[in-house]
């Protein structure tokens, strides 16, 4: 084997992906089941000249990565549900001030402090609407360590491309299980680097004036250009404004730069969908159980297929609709009370064909759990 092959936890695969993407600043407040991310980076970042800071809490951690990003660094923080709740205000600030950064949320049982060491996928909607006000957000996830590495790199790439926070939504099972990871060679996965302004020192720089392609070139804060950064509605210099035209333009820009690029942001994996009568839709660790069932049933001649979502927000509506077109039944497999199920119901032709197979008790959903629901749906009894 010429490539570096590691056997590690999902949290460590996330760290490897982040370092590959060029992460050089991490601020965090360790919390189960995300702790290994902070632990690994506290060792790795200083060795490559980066900075690791354990802050006093999750709010300060989120604010620190925003500040670091504005000064030109690829920045990340990692937490779990309780800490993710605390970060919401500052995530909204990053949305408004258009600050690229990556926020990892390793989901555990909830709400509140819930079940710290048990698995859940109850934060899907919090990634979407956790911070207040109309806005758009990008949320990515993965179900195995190789994909997790790649999607972590993609999180950084999208955050730089669209100047926005990207949420990397993991869960306890993926975070703590160990499996193989082959580290891609340098250059194998393309990296998006910071787009810096070409405006010279002493020339008027407009930090919030999008180019024709919608991107906004940045200038390291505290560097050669003076500009303002605020959570208030602002003009192209970053100064507060209540002009309705400016407010409207900014609101449209913040949402359209993401909702207008759903296709480019959509990452899904398709398994056996061509002739599937029953389509399972899943993501994160649940998708492993779903795929186990699909392969198992395929061997018995049953036409099951799986659509695995790696992009949760913006919701990949077209991919979901297309995959469900000829399905008799659609079963959404997730460890919550139907957060993605409702999104699927919104986009499919007949919402009555969509069912939920879930667990909400901190126990990892098994192929048998899914099969039992499927049999009920098909009228076969358990």
């Amino acid at each position: 084997m010429s490539k570096k092959t590691l056997f590690l936890q999902g949290n460590e695969a996330c760290v490897e992906g982040a370092l590959y993407a060029g992460l050089d600043f991490f601020a965090g407040y360790p919390i189960t089941p995300s702790t290994e991310i902070a632990e690994m980076l506290s060792m790795r970042l200083p060795k490559k000249g980066g900075k690791f800071i354990q802050m006093e809490d999750e709010i300060a951690s989120m604010c620190a990565i925003i500040g670091a990003s504005l000064t030109g660094h690829k920045s990340m923080t990692a937490t779990s549900g309780p800490g993710f709740s605390l970060k919401q205000e500052a995530i909204g600030y990053a949305v408004m001030a258009e600050v690229p950064c990556v926020v990892v949320d390793v989901q555990r049982g909830g709400p509140s402090t819930g079940m710290p060491t048990k698995v859940s996928q109850g934060d899907v909607m919090q990634t979407r609407w956790g911070t207040h006000g109309d806005h758009a957000i990008i949320t990515l996830t993965a179900s195995n360590h190789q994909d997790l590495f790649a999607i972590t790199v993609e999180a950084f790439n999208l955050s730089e491309t669209y100047r926005t926070p990207v949420i990397l939504l993991l869960d306890e099972v993926i975070a703590h299980m160990r499996e193989k990871l082959v580290i891609p060679e340098k250059g194998e996965i393309p990296l998006v680097e910071r787009l810096w302004t070409s405006v010279k020192e002493g020339t008027d720089y407009h930090p919030y004036l999008p180019r024709e392609d919608g991107r906004l070139p940045m200038s390291d804060f505290g560097g050669v250009h003076r500009y303002n950064v605020t959570g208030l509605v602002h003009d192209m210099w970053g100064f507060p404004s209540e002009d309705p035209r400016i407010a409207y333009g900014l609101m449209r820009h913040l949402v359209d730069k993401i909702e207008g690029h759903v296709k480019e942001m959509t990452h899904v994996k398709e398994y056996y969908l061509d002739d599937a009568d029953v389509v399972l839709i899943s993501y994160g660790s649940s998708a492993r159980s779903a795929l186990h069932l699909v392969e198992n049933r395929r061997a018995r001649g049953e036409r099951l297929g799986l659509l695995e979502l790696q992009t949760l927000w913006p919701f990949p509506a077209e991919a979901v609709r297309k995959s469900c077109e000829r399905a008799e039944y659609v079963i959404v497999v997730e460890m919550n009370m139907g957060q993605v199920t409702e999104e699927v119901r919104k986009v499919v032709h007949d919402h009555e064909t969509v069912f939920l197979a879930n667990r909400i008790d901190g126990t990892f959903i098994s192929p048998t759990d899914i099969r039992n629901i499927l049999r009920v749906v098909q009228g076969k009894g358990v």
């Binding site: 710290p116 306890e172 499996e179 193989k180 492993r288 098994s366």
Partner: protein, 187 residues
């Protein structure tokens, strides 16, 4: 290769999780197999019963947990009581004779070995019991080569513990050989 589902169980501090990682890593990195390792966290990780799951296969492993192990190792009575009912018929149950009294029969080959006592006798302390267990288990079911385990140990073990771990692994192997127990094919 069949799909092997292995559960190591014992109490916090006995090193069952470490042993499970070494086994899975040996399979995944040095034998070109697929391996997935996971463990139960929570209150159980501090004393009580600790459990680590390993799946080894030449095919892709999707569901990462073990429901019915082919191989179950129990290093405490509590772990035996809790998990012995889950063993796959025709599998292998390995227990330590110092810690576990076989209160009931299971539908599997039962092998009882004085691992704890042998380690104490040779080393005066039980620290490397987990490696003795791994040596015994791999003699009973040769899932991965001894060299592969040694490669992982060489890379991962602090130098001060390396010799002790290798010795304990050998003690476990010898226990099986000297008892005249044949390696087995798992159902």
């Amino acid at each position: 290769m069949e799909r092997y589902r292995i559960v190591f169980s014992g109490s916090g501090g006995q090193g069952v999780i470490t042993a499970s990682i070494i086994l899975a890593e040996a399979a995944a990195i040095y034998e070109g197999l697929n391996a997935v390792q996971s463990q139960s966290y929570g209150a159980e990780a501090r004393g009580g019963s600790t459990r680590a799951d390993v799946i080894i296969s030449d095919r892709e492993i999707r569901f990462p947990k073990v429901n019915q192990p082919n191989i179950l190792v129990c290093l405490t009575q509590q772990a035996f009581n809790k998990f012995s009912g889950s063993i796959r018929p025709g599998g292998l149950l390995l227990t330590d004779s110092h810690f576990v009294q076989l209160e009931r029969k299971v539908d599997a080959r039962q092998v009882e070995l004085p691992m704890y006592q042998s380690v104490i006798k040779a080393m005066d302390k039980p620290t490397a019991l987990n490696m003795c267990m791994l040596g015994a288990m791999l003699s009973l079911v040769p899932l991965v080569k001894t060299e592969s385990i040694m490669k992982v140990l060489n890379e991962k073990t602090p130098a001060t513990f390396l010799g002790m771990n290798k010795d304990a692994f050998e003690i476990g192997r010898k226990l099986v050989v000297e008892a005249g127990i044949e390696p087995q094919e798992l159902a």
